[in-house]
Protein backbone atom coordinates (compact mmCIF):
# COMPACT_ATOMS: atom_id res chain seq x y z
CA UNK A 1 0.00 0.00 0.00
CA UNK A 2 3.04 2.21 0.17
CA UNK A 3 2.39 3.41 -3.36
CA UNK A 4 -0.88 5.06 -2.31
CA UNK A 5 0.77 7.16 0.41
CA UNK A 6 0.28 10.23 -1.77
CA UNK A 7 -3.46 9.94 -1.15
CA UNK A 8 -3.05 10.70 2.57
CA UNK A 9 -5.62 10.01 5.22
CA UNK A 10 -9.21 11.16 4.86
CA UNK A 11 -11.87 11.53 7.46
CA UNK A 12 -14.77 9.79 5.74
CA UNK A 13 -18.32 10.81 6.63
CA UNK A 14 -19.76 7.52 5.31
CA UNK A 15 -20.01 6.64 8.15
CA UNK A 16 -18.41 9.40 10.20
CA UNK A 17 -17.40 7.16 13.08
CA UNK A 18 -16.05 3.63 13.16
CA UNK A 19 -17.16 0.78 15.43
CA UNK A 20 -15.10 2.14 18.34
CA UNK A 21 -16.78 5.52 18.06
CA UNK A 22 -13.66 7.27 16.79
CA UNK A 23 -13.19 9.28 13.61
CA UNK A 24 -13.56 7.03 10.60
CA UNK A 25 -10.11 7.66 9.10
CA UNK A 26 -9.57 5.96 5.75
CA UNK A 27 -6.71 5.70 3.29
CA UNK A 28 -5.78 3.95 0.06
CA UNK A 29 -8.56 2.54 -2.12
CA UNK A 30 -11.03 3.14 0.67
CA UNK A 31 -10.15 6.85 0.63
CA UNK A 32 -10.75 7.04 -3.12
CA UNK A 33 -14.14 5.36 -2.70
CA UNK A 34 -14.95 7.73 0.15
CA UNK A 35 -14.16 10.70 -2.07
CA UNK A 36 -16.49 9.38 -4.76
CA UNK A 37 -19.21 9.03 -2.12
CA UNK A 38 -18.53 12.61 -1.02
CA UNK A 39 -19.15 13.77 -4.59
CA UNK A 40 -22.35 11.82 -5.12
CA UNK A 41 -23.84 12.60 -1.69
CA UNK A 42 -23.18 16.36 -1.69
CA UNK A 43 -25.72 18.82 -3.03
CA UNK A 44 -24.38 21.56 -5.29
CA UNK A 45 -23.86 24.63 -3.10
CA UNK A 46 -23.69 22.63 0.10
CA UNK A 47 -19.93 23.23 0.33
CA UNK A 48 -20.01 27.02 0.19
CA UNK A 49 -16.44 27.59 -0.95
CA UNK A 50 -16.69 24.88 -3.62
CA UNK A 51 -20.21 25.64 -4.83
CA UNK A 52 -19.92 23.37 -7.90
CA UNK A 53 -19.15 20.32 -5.80
CA UNK A 54 -21.76 17.58 -5.59
CA UNK A 55 -24.31 15.87 -7.75
CA UNK A 56 -27.18 14.59 -5.57
CA UNK A 57 -30.52 15.75 -7.10
CA UNK A 58 -32.67 18.23 -5.24
CA UNK A 59 -35.24 16.91 -2.82
CA UNK A 60 -38.09 18.13 -5.01
CA UNK A 61 -36.59 17.16 -8.35
CA UNK A 62 -39.00 15.11 -10.36
CA UNK A 63 -38.28 11.42 -10.23
CA UNK A 64 -39.30 11.01 -13.85
CA UNK A 65 -37.44 13.94 -15.32
CA UNK A 66 -33.99 12.41 -15.24
CA UNK A 67 -33.42 8.77 -15.61
CA UNK A 68 -30.69 6.54 -14.35
CA UNK A 69 -28.82 6.64 -17.67
CA UNK A 70 -28.66 10.42 -17.58
CA UNK A 71 -27.39 10.21 -14.01
CA UNK A 72 -24.83 7.68 -15.16
CA UNK A 73 -23.13 10.00 -17.63
CA UNK A 74 -23.47 12.89 -15.23
CA UNK A 75 -21.71 11.08 -12.42
CA UNK A 76 -18.92 9.94 -14.69
CA UNK A 77 -18.12 13.43 -15.94
CA UNK A 78 -18.44 14.90 -12.45
CA UNK A 79 -16.00 12.42 -10.88
CA UNK A 80 -13.52 12.95 -13.71
CA UNK A 81 -13.83 16.71 -13.37
CA UNK A 82 -13.08 16.63 -9.65
CA UNK A 83 -10.33 14.12 -10.27
CA UNK A 84 -8.69 16.84 -12.37
CA UNK A 85 -9.30 19.59 -9.83
CA UNK A 86 -8.19 17.94 -6.63
CA UNK A 87 -6.56 14.64 -7.54
CA UNK A 88 -8.89 12.02 -6.16
CA UNK A 89 -6.40 9.41 -7.34
CA UNK A 90 -8.43 7.75 -10.12
CA UNK A 91 -6.59 6.40 -13.15
CA UNK A 92 -9.44 4.86 -15.10
CA UNK A 93 -13.16 5.18 -14.55
CA UNK A 94 -16.14 3.32 -15.87
CA UNK A 95 -19.67 3.69 -14.53
CA UNK A 96 -22.30 1.09 -15.31
CA UNK A 97 -25.90 0.45 -14.42
CA UNK A 98 -27.04 -3.02 -13.59
CA UNK A 99 -30.34 -4.53 -12.78
CA UNK A 100 -30.03 -6.31 -9.50
CA UNK A 101 -33.32 -8.06 -9.51
CA UNK A 102 -35.57 -7.67 -12.48
CA UNK A 103 -38.75 -8.48 -10.57
CA UNK A 104 -38.18 -5.74 -7.98
CA UNK A 105 -37.11 -3.18 -10.54
CA UNK A 106 -33.90 -2.60 -8.55
CA UNK A 107 -31.12 -0.69 -10.22
CA UNK A 108 -27.53 -0.76 -9.06
CA UNK A 109 -24.86 1.72 -10.06
CA UNK A 110 -21.39 0.22 -10.29
CA UNK A 111 -18.40 2.52 -10.42
CA UNK A 112 -15.33 0.67 -11.67
CA UNK A 113 -12.09 2.53 -11.02
CA UNK A 114 -8.35 1.97 -10.99
CA UNK A 115 -6.20 3.85 -8.50
CA UNK A 116 -2.99 5.61 -9.53
CA UNK A 117 0.00 3.85 -8.01
CA UNK A 118 -1.63 0.50 -7.59
CA UNK A 119 -1.24 -2.43 -9.95
CA UNK A 120 -3.98 -2.96 -12.48
CA UNK A 121 -6.57 -3.96 -9.91
CA UNK A 122 -10.03 -2.78 -10.81
CA UNK A 123 -12.07 -1.76 -7.81
CA UNK A 124 -15.81 -1.52 -7.87
CA UNK A 125 -18.06 0.64 -5.76
CA UNK A 126 -21.70 -0.40 -5.92
CA UNK A 127 -24.83 1.20 -4.55
CA UNK A 128 -28.56 1.05 -5.17
CA UNK A 129 -29.95 3.80 -7.39
CA UNK A 130 -33.37 4.15 -5.77
CA UNK A 131 -31.92 4.07 -2.27
CA UNK A 132 -29.61 6.83 -3.42
CA UNK A 133 -32.55 8.88 -4.69
CA UNK A 134 -34.24 8.30 -1.33
CA UNK A 135 -31.40 9.71 0.77
CA UNK A 136 -32.74 13.26 0.70
CA UNK A 137 -36.36 12.15 0.92
CA UNK A 138 -35.80 10.05 4.01
CA UNK A 139 -33.09 12.29 5.45
CA UNK A 140 -31.22 9.20 6.52
CA UNK A 141 -28.15 7.49 5.13
CA UNK A 142 -28.84 4.18 6.86
CA UNK A 143 -30.76 2.44 4.04
CA UNK A 144 -28.37 3.74 1.44
CA UNK A 145 -25.19 2.81 3.29
CA UNK A 146 -26.48 -0.70 3.95
CA UNK A 147 -26.20 -1.47 0.24
CA UNK A 148 -22.99 0.39 -0.57
CA UNK A 149 -20.34 -2.22 -1.35
CA UNK A 150 -16.70 -1.78 -2.20
CA UNK A 151 -15.24 -4.80 -4.01
CA UNK A 152 -18.27 -6.83 -2.96
CA UNK A 153 -17.90 -6.28 0.75
CA UNK A 154 -20.02 -3.75 2.66
CA UNK A 155 -18.32 -0.34 2.52
CA UNK A 156 -18.66 0.38 6.23
CA UNK A 157 -16.83 -2.82 7.13
CA UNK A 158 -13.64 -1.73 5.37
CA UNK A 159 -10.75 -1.04 7.69
CA UNK A 160 -7.85 1.28 7.17
Amino acid sequence: MASTNYLGNDWSWYPATNESGYFNIVSGVHAVASRILHIILTQPGEDPIHPGLGIIPNLFASLSSDNALFFLSNIQSEILAWNNVCKIGIKELNVQIESLNIYRNDLAISIYFKVIGLTNTTNVLTFGYWEYRGVLASGSLTDFMANVRLNNTPFSSHKK
Binding site: N9, D10, S12, F23, S34, R35, I49, K87
Partner: protein
Protein backbone atom coordinates in the same frame (compact mmCIF):
# COMPACT_ATOMS: atom_id res chain seq x y z
CA UNK B 1 -40.77 53.80 26.59
CA UNK B 2 -39.09 56.47 24.52
CA UNK B 3 -35.38 56.21 24.04
CA UNK B 4 -33.60 59.47 23.60
CA UNK B 5 -31.26 59.18 20.63
CA UNK B 6 -30.50 62.89 20.35
CA UNK B 7 -27.08 62.54 21.97
CA UNK B 8 -26.07 59.91 19.44
CA UNK B 9 -27.25 61.97 16.48
CA UNK B 10 -25.47 65.00 17.84
CA UNK B 11 -22.27 62.96 18.07
CA UNK B 12 -22.70 61.67 14.50
CA UNK B 13 -23.37 65.18 13.32
CA UNK B 14 -20.29 66.56 15.00
CA UNK B 15 -18.17 63.70 13.68
CA UNK B 16 -19.40 64.36 10.15
CA UNK B 17 -18.01 67.86 10.41
CA UNK B 18 -14.61 66.60 11.56
CA UNK B 19 -13.41 65.43 8.17
CA UNK B 20 -10.28 63.34 7.76
CA UNK B 21 -12.04 60.07 7.21
CA UNK B 22 -9.25 58.21 5.52
CA UNK B 23 -10.11 55.02 3.61
CA UNK B 24 -9.43 52.11 5.94
CA UNK B 25 -7.58 49.06 4.64
CA UNK B 26 -9.58 45.85 4.38
CA UNK B 27 -9.15 43.94 7.60
CA UNK B 28 -9.90 40.59 5.97
CA UNK B 29 -8.84 39.92 2.39
CA UNK B 30 -11.56 37.31 1.69
CA UNK B 31 -9.12 34.99 -0.07
CA UNK B 32 -11.02 31.80 0.76
CA UNK B 33 -8.75 29.48 -1.23
CA UNK B 34 -5.64 30.69 0.59
CA UNK B 35 -7.25 30.37 4.02
CA UNK B 36 -8.62 26.94 3.11
CA UNK B 37 -5.25 25.59 2.00
CA UNK B 38 -3.51 27.14 5.02
CA UNK B 39 -5.84 25.33 7.42
CA UNK B 40 -5.63 22.07 5.45
CA UNK B 41 -1.82 22.29 5.44
CA UNK B 42 -1.86 22.82 9.18
CA UNK B 43 -4.12 19.78 9.67
CA UNK B 44 -1.84 17.66 7.49
CA UNK B 45 1.26 18.26 9.63
CA UNK B 46 2.59 15.02 11.14
CA UNK B 47 1.78 14.42 14.79
CA UNK B 48 4.41 15.26 17.44
CA UNK B 49 5.46 11.60 17.67
CA UNK B 50 6.19 11.50 13.93
CA UNK B 51 3.20 9.49 12.77
CA UNK B 52 1.05 10.64 9.87
CA UNK B 53 -1.73 13.05 10.60
CA UNK B 54 -5.14 11.36 10.38
CA UNK B 55 -6.11 14.33 8.21
CA UNK B 56 -3.04 14.17 5.98
CA UNK B 57 -4.92 14.50 2.69
CA UNK B 58 -5.61 18.07 1.68
CA UNK B 59 -8.62 17.01 -0.35
CA UNK B 60 -11.87 19.00 -0.20
CA UNK B 61 -13.70 15.70 -0.83
CA UNK B 62 -13.03 14.51 2.71
CA UNK B 63 -14.98 15.08 5.90
CA UNK B 64 -12.38 17.40 7.32
CA UNK B 65 -12.11 19.22 3.99
CA UNK B 66 -15.84 19.92 3.98
CA UNK B 67 -15.84 21.09 7.59
CA UNK B 68 -12.88 23.39 6.95
CA UNK B 69 -14.67 24.73 3.89
CA UNK B 70 -17.72 25.59 5.99
CA UNK B 71 -15.46 27.20 8.61
CA UNK B 72 -13.66 29.32 6.01
CA UNK B 73 -16.99 30.38 4.58
CA UNK B 74 -18.33 31.49 7.97
CA UNK B 75 -15.05 33.26 8.64
CA UNK B 76 -15.34 35.10 5.33
CA UNK B 77 -18.86 36.23 6.24
CA UNK B 78 -17.58 37.65 9.52
CA UNK B 79 -14.64 39.21 7.68
CA UNK B 80 -17.04 40.78 5.20
CA UNK B 81 -19.08 42.24 8.04
CA UNK B 82 -15.94 43.61 9.72
CA UNK B 83 -14.85 45.17 6.45
CA UNK B 84 -18.23 46.89 6.27
CA UNK B 85 -17.75 48.70 9.58
CA UNK B 86 -17.47 52.34 8.52
CA UNK B 87 -14.58 54.51 9.59
CA UNK B 88 -16.96 56.64 11.56
CA UNK B 89 -17.79 53.70 13.82
CA UNK B 90 -14.12 53.08 14.46
CA UNK B 91 -13.70 56.75 15.31
CA UNK B 92 -16.56 56.56 17.80
CA UNK B 93 -15.07 53.43 19.35
CA UNK B 94 -11.72 55.17 19.67
CA UNK B 95 -13.37 58.22 21.17
CA UNK B 96 -15.11 56.01 23.72
CA UNK B 97 -11.62 54.87 24.69
CA UNK B 98 -10.59 58.50 25.06
CA UNK B 99 -8.46 58.58 21.97
CA UNK B 100 -8.90 61.41 19.48
CA UNK B 101 -7.53 61.45 15.97
CA UNK B 102 -4.65 63.88 15.58
CA UNK B 103 -5.49 66.28 12.78
CA UNK B 104 -2.97 67.69 10.29
CA UNK B 105 -1.08 70.72 11.50
CA UNK B 106 0.25 73.70 9.59
CA UNK B 107 4.02 74.18 9.23
CA UNK B 108 5.44 77.42 10.60
CA UNK B 109 8.39 79.25 9.05
CA UNK B 110 10.31 82.33 10.07
CA UNK B 111 10.24 85.31 7.68
CA UNK B 112 12.56 88.30 7.76
CA UNK B 113 11.25 91.55 6.28
CA UNK B 114 13.80 94.19 5.18
CA UNK B 115 12.93 97.88 5.13
CA UNK B 116 13.90 100.11 2.19
CA UNK B 117 17.03 102.21 2.65
CA UNK B 118 14.88 105.36 2.59
CA UNK B 119 12.85 104.13 5.52
CA UNK B 120 15.97 103.20 7.45
CA UNK B 121 17.63 106.58 6.85
CA UNK B 122 14.48 108.54 7.65
CA UNK B 123 13.90 106.37 10.74
CA UNK B 124 10.34 105.63 9.60
CA UNK B 125 8.68 102.71 11.41
CA UNK B 126 7.33 100.15 8.94
CA UNK B 127 4.24 98.09 9.81
CA UNK B 128 3.75 94.54 8.60
CA UNK B 129 0.14 93.64 9.44
CA UNK B 130 -0.93 90.19 10.64
CA UNK B 131 -1.82 87.72 7.85
CA UNK B 132 0.48 89.35 5.34
CA UNK B 133 0.78 86.77 2.61
CA UNK B 134 4.21 85.95 1.18
CA UNK B 135 4.21 83.69 -1.86
CA UNK B 136 6.75 81.02 -2.70
CA UNK B 137 8.95 81.63 -5.71
CA UNK B 138 9.00 77.95 -6.69
CA UNK B 139 5.59 76.61 -5.74
CA UNK B 140 2.81 78.86 -6.96
CA UNK B 141 0.21 77.53 -4.48
CA UNK B 142 2.44 77.84 -1.47
CA UNK B 143 2.21 80.93 0.70
CA UNK B 144 3.08 81.93 4.24
CA UNK B 145 0.83 84.13 6.38
CA UNK B 146 2.35 86.13 9.21
CA UNK B 147 0.99 85.22 12.60
CA UNK B 148 1.22 88.59 14.34
CA UNK B 149 1.63 92.30 13.68
CA UNK B 150 5.26 93.28 13.31
CA UNK B 151 6.99 96.63 13.16
CA UNK B 152 10.43 97.51 11.82
CA UNK B 153 11.33 100.20 14.33
CA UNK B 154 12.77 103.47 13.05
CA UNK B 155 16.46 102.97 12.34
CA UNK B 156 16.24 99.15 12.25
CA UNK B 157 16.72 97.50 8.90
CA UNK B 158 14.72 94.28 9.40
CA UNK B 159 12.27 92.36 11.56
CA UNK B 160 11.68 88.66 11.92
CA UNK B 161 8.18 87.29 12.25
CA UNK B 162 6.64 83.79 12.36
CA UNK B 163 4.32 82.80 9.55
CA UNK B 164 2.34 79.68 8.91
CA UNK B 165 2.20 77.94 5.58
CA UNK B 166 -1.23 77.91 3.92
CA UNK B 167 -1.29 74.11 3.46
CA UNK B 168 -1.74 71.68 6.35
CA UNK B 169 0.49 68.64 6.53
CA UNK B 170 4.20 68.13 6.38
CA UNK B 171 6.32 70.27 4.09
CA UNK B 172 7.59 68.95 0.78
CA UNK B 173 11.05 67.42 0.92
CA UNK B 174 12.43 69.97 -1.55
CA UNK B 175 11.02 72.92 0.39
CA UNK B 176 13.60 75.55 1.26
CA UNK B 177 12.46 78.46 3.45
CA UNK B 178 14.38 80.90 1.30
CA UNK B 179 11.86 80.39 -1.51
CA UNK B 180 9.28 82.35 0.49
CA UNK B 181 10.30 85.69 -1.00
CA UNK B 182 7.52 87.08 -3.21
CA UNK B 183 6.31 90.30 -1.60
CA UNK B 184 2.60 91.05 -1.60
CA UNK B 185 1.59 94.17 -3.53
CA UNK B 186 0.86 97.41 -1.69
CA UNK B 187 3.24 96.73 1.18
CA UNK B 188 5.00 100.06 1.52
CA UNK B 189 8.57 100.69 2.60
CA UNK B 190 9.53 97.01 2.38
CA UNK B 191 12.52 96.21 0.22
CA UNK B 192 12.50 92.42 0.41
CA UNK B 193 11.36 89.42 2.35
CA UNK B 194 13.04 86.08 2.84
CA UNK B 195 12.22 82.92 4.68
CA UNK B 196 15.01 82.17 7.11
CA UNK B 197 14.20 78.93 8.87
CA UNK B 198 11.57 76.30 9.48
CA UNK B 199 10.17 76.66 12.99
CA UNK B 200 7.81 73.67 12.84
CA UNK B 201 7.64 71.26 9.91
CA UNK B 202 3.93 70.52 10.40
CA UNK B 203 2.43 67.10 10.66
CA UNK B 204 0.08 65.14 8.52
CA UNK B 205 -3.05 63.80 10.16
CA UNK B 206 -3.21 60.37 11.69
CA UNK B 207 -4.74 57.53 9.73
CA UNK B 208 -7.11 55.18 11.51
CA UNK B 209 -4.35 52.60 11.50
CA UNK B 210 -1.98 54.96 13.29
CA UNK B 211 -4.72 55.78 15.80
CA UNK B 212 -5.16 52.07 16.41
CA UNK B 213 -1.42 51.63 17.01
CA UNK B 214 -1.42 54.59 19.37
CA UNK B 215 -4.40 53.17 21.26
CA UNK B 216 -2.67 49.82 21.57
CA UNK B 217 0.51 51.48 22.82
CA UNK B 218 -1.42 53.43 25.41
CA UNK B 219 -2.89 50.23 26.76
CA UNK B 220 0.50 48.56 26.79
CA UNK B 221 1.97 51.51 28.64
CA UNK B 222 -0.75 51.28 31.26
CA UNK B 223 -2.28 54.68 30.54
CA UNK B 224 -5.35 53.41 32.30
CA UNK B 225 -4.91 50.88 35.06
CA UNK B 226 -7.52 48.15 34.91
CA UNK B 227 -5.85 44.75 35.02
CA UNK B 228 -3.16 43.78 37.56
CA UNK B 229 -0.68 43.71 34.70
CA UNK B 230 -1.43 47.31 33.77
CA UNK B 231 -0.93 48.34 37.40
CA UNK B 232 2.35 46.45 37.39
CA UNK B 233 3.63 48.10 34.21
CA UNK B 234 2.50 51.55 35.28
CA UNK B 235 4.24 51.22 38.65
CA UNK B 236 7.46 50.09 36.99
CA UNK B 237 7.20 53.01 34.59
CA UNK B 238 6.66 55.39 37.51
CA UNK B 239 10.04 54.44 38.94
CA UNK B 240 9.67 51.38 41.15
CA UNK B 241 12.15 48.56 40.57
CA UNK B 242 10.12 45.75 42.15
CA UNK B 243 6.35 45.69 42.22
CA UNK B 244 3.72 43.37 43.66
CA UNK B 245 0.08 43.94 42.74
CA UNK B 246 -2.44 42.44 45.17
CA UNK B 247 -5.97 42.85 43.83
CA UNK B 248 -8.86 42.89 46.28
CA UNK B 249 -6.85 43.84 49.36
CA UNK B 250 -6.86 47.22 51.01
CA UNK B 251 -3.88 47.66 53.29
CA UNK B 252 -4.33 51.20 54.58
CA UNK B 253 -7.13 52.69 56.72
CA UNK B 254 -9.29 49.82 57.93
CA UNK B 255 -7.66 47.12 55.88
CA UNK B 256 -9.80 44.31 54.59
CA UNK B 257 -10.88 42.88 51.27
CA UNK B 258 -12.87 44.76 48.62
CA UNK B 259 -13.55 43.78 45.04
CA UNK B 260 -12.67 47.26 43.81
CA UNK B 261 -9.48 47.64 45.85
CA UNK B 262 -5.97 47.22 44.53
CA UNK B 263 -2.87 47.32 46.64
CA UNK B 264 0.40 47.98 44.88
CA UNK B 265 3.52 47.24 46.93
CA UNK B 266 6.69 48.84 45.67
CA UNK B 267 10.39 48.64 46.27
CA UNK B 268 12.42 50.87 46.80
CA UNK B 269 10.28 51.93 49.75
CA UNK B 270 10.93 55.62 49.10
CA UNK B 271 9.15 55.44 45.75
CA UNK B 272 5.68 54.70 47.14
CA UNK B 273 4.46 58.34 47.22
CA UNK B 274 5.65 58.99 43.69
CA UNK B 275 4.08 55.80 42.38
CA UNK B 276 0.81 56.63 44.14
CA UNK B 277 0.71 60.06 42.52
CA UNK B 278 1.23 58.51 39.13
CA UNK B 279 -1.20 55.61 39.50
CA UNK B 280 -4.00 57.62 41.11
CA UNK B 281 -4.48 59.51 37.83
CA UNK B 282 -4.77 56.27 35.87
CA UNK B 283 -6.97 54.18 38.13
CA UNK B 284 -10.66 53.85 37.28
CA UNK B 285 -12.84 56.40 39.01
CA UNK B 286 -14.14 55.10 42.34
CA UNK B 287 -11.66 52.24 42.65
CA UNK B 288 -9.68 52.06 45.87
CA UNK B 289 -5.96 52.22 45.35
CA UNK B 290 -3.30 51.97 47.98
CA UNK B 291 0.37 52.06 47.22
CA UNK B 292 2.51 50.76 50.04
CA UNK B 293 6.24 50.54 50.49
CA UNK B 294 7.47 46.98 50.74
CA UNK B 295 7.89 45.72 54.29
CA UNK B 296 11.57 44.81 54.55
CA UNK B 297 12.28 42.08 57.10
CA UNK B 298 15.91 42.04 58.09
CA UNK B 299 17.25 38.54 58.67
CA UNK B 300 20.34 37.76 60.72
CA UNK B 301 21.63 34.45 62.07
CA UNK B 302 24.28 31.89 61.49
CA UNK B 303 25.41 29.95 58.43
CA UNK B 304 27.90 27.13 58.29
CA UNK B 305 29.17 26.72 54.75
CA UNK B 306 31.47 24.13 53.23
CA UNK B 307 33.91 25.69 50.80
CA UNK B 308 36.83 24.50 48.67
CA UNK B 309 40.07 23.88 50.55
CA UNK B 310 42.18 26.42 48.67
CA UNK B 311 39.94 29.40 49.34
CA UNK B 312 40.53 31.94 52.09
CA UNK B 313 37.87 33.06 54.57
CA UNK B 314 37.79 36.55 53.08
CA UNK B 315 37.39 35.23 49.52
CA UNK B 316 34.64 32.84 50.64
CA UNK B 317 32.85 35.69 52.41
CA UNK B 318 33.04 37.82 49.28
CA UNK B 319 31.58 35.03 47.16
CA UNK B 320 28.67 34.36 49.53
CA UNK B 321 28.02 38.05 50.03
CA UNK B 322 27.78 38.70 46.31
CA UNK B 323 25.58 35.60 45.88
CA UNK B 324 23.18 37.07 48.43
CA UNK B 325 23.44 40.57 46.98
CA UNK B 326 22.70 39.51 43.42
CA UNK B 327 20.06 36.82 44.04
CA UNK B 328 18.41 37.13 47.42
CA UNK B 329 18.34 40.70 48.71
CA UNK B 330 15.88 43.21 47.21
CA UNK B 331 15.29 44.07 44.42
CA UNK B 332 15.95 40.37 43.79
CA UNK B 333 14.20 37.63 45.67
CA UNK B 334 10.55 36.71 45.86
CA UNK B 335 7.63 38.61 47.39
CA UNK B 336 6.47 37.01 50.65
CA UNK B 337 8.91 34.15 50.25
CA UNK B 338 7.57 31.31 52.42
CA UNK B 339 10.52 29.12 51.53
CA UNK B 340 13.18 31.72 52.11
CA UNK B 341 15.69 29.29 53.60
CA UNK B 342 15.63 27.20 50.44
CA UNK B 343 15.91 30.29 48.21
CA UNK B 344 18.99 31.34 50.19
CA UNK B 345 20.61 27.87 50.09
CA UNK B 346 20.04 27.52 46.33
CA UNK B 347 21.43 30.98 45.63
CA UNK B 348 24.59 30.30 47.66
CA UNK B 349 25.15 26.78 46.32
CA UNK B 350 24.71 27.73 42.65
CA UNK B 351 26.76 30.89 42.73
CA UNK B 352 30.28 29.50 42.51
CA UNK B 353 31.89 26.05 42.16
CA UNK B 354 34.12 26.89 45.15
CA UNK B 355 31.10 26.81 47.44
CA UNK B 356 30.08 23.22 48.04
CA UNK B 357 26.97 23.77 50.10
CA UNK B 358 25.48 24.80 53.41
CA UNK B 359 26.08 22.50 56.35
CA UNK B 360 23.79 24.12 58.86
CA UNK B 361 21.64 27.18 59.01
CA UNK B 362 19.87 29.24 61.65
CA UNK B 363 17.95 32.33 60.59
CA UNK B 364 16.29 34.86 62.94
CA UNK B 365 14.63 38.23 62.53
CA UNK B 366 17.33 40.74 63.29
CA UNK B 367 15.45 43.08 65.65
CA UNK B 368 13.31 40.63 67.58
CA UNK B 369 15.32 37.42 67.53
CA UNK B 370 12.28 35.37 66.47
CA UNK B 371 13.28 32.40 64.34
CA UNK B 372 12.35 32.51 60.66
CA UNK B 373 10.00 29.54 60.93
CA UNK B 374 7.84 31.36 63.48
CA UNK B 375 7.57 34.57 61.47
CA UNK B 376 4.33 35.30 59.61
CA UNK B 377 5.31 36.25 56.06
CA UNK B 378 2.89 38.37 54.01
CA UNK B 379 2.83 38.93 50.26
CA UNK B 380 3.98 42.51 50.84
CA UNK B 381 7.10 41.41 52.73
CA UNK B 382 10.58 41.26 51.27
CA UNK B 383 13.25 39.41 53.22
CA UNK B 384 16.71 40.83 53.32
CA UNK B 385 19.87 39.28 54.73
CA UNK B 386 21.42 41.73 57.17
CA UNK B 387 25.11 42.47 57.30
CA UNK B 388 25.12 41.13 60.86
CA UNK B 389 24.79 37.53 59.71
CA UNK B 390 27.70 35.39 60.83
CA UNK B 391 29.46 32.64 58.91
CA UNK B 392 31.42 29.58 59.78
CA UNK B 393 33.59 28.11 57.06
CA UNK B 394 34.05 24.35 56.87
CA UNK B 395 36.72 22.78 54.66
Amino acid sequence: MDINYSGFYEMINRLSQDGLLTPAPDLYDLNNEAVFSAIMNRLAQPLPDGTDSPFSSRNPLSGHGQLVGALVYLQSIIGHEINLIPDRTWLILFQLLGIEVAYPEFPVVELTFYATSNAVISRTPVNIPVATQVQSRRHSNLAALTLQNAVIQGGDSSVTVNARINQAGTLLAEFDPIEMSVLPPLLSNIEAVRGTSIIYPGSKGESLYEVMLRARKQFQDGQSCITPRSFYNAALKAGATKVNVIPGLQLDNLGGYYSDAVTVVVYPTTMSDLVFQDLSTKVLMGDRLSVKPANIISIAGYLSIRVAAGISNAAAFNLVASAIQSNVNPPHGIWGDLDFENTLLTAIKNYSPSIFGVESIELIQENTGITLAKLTIHPWDLLQISSNISFNWVR
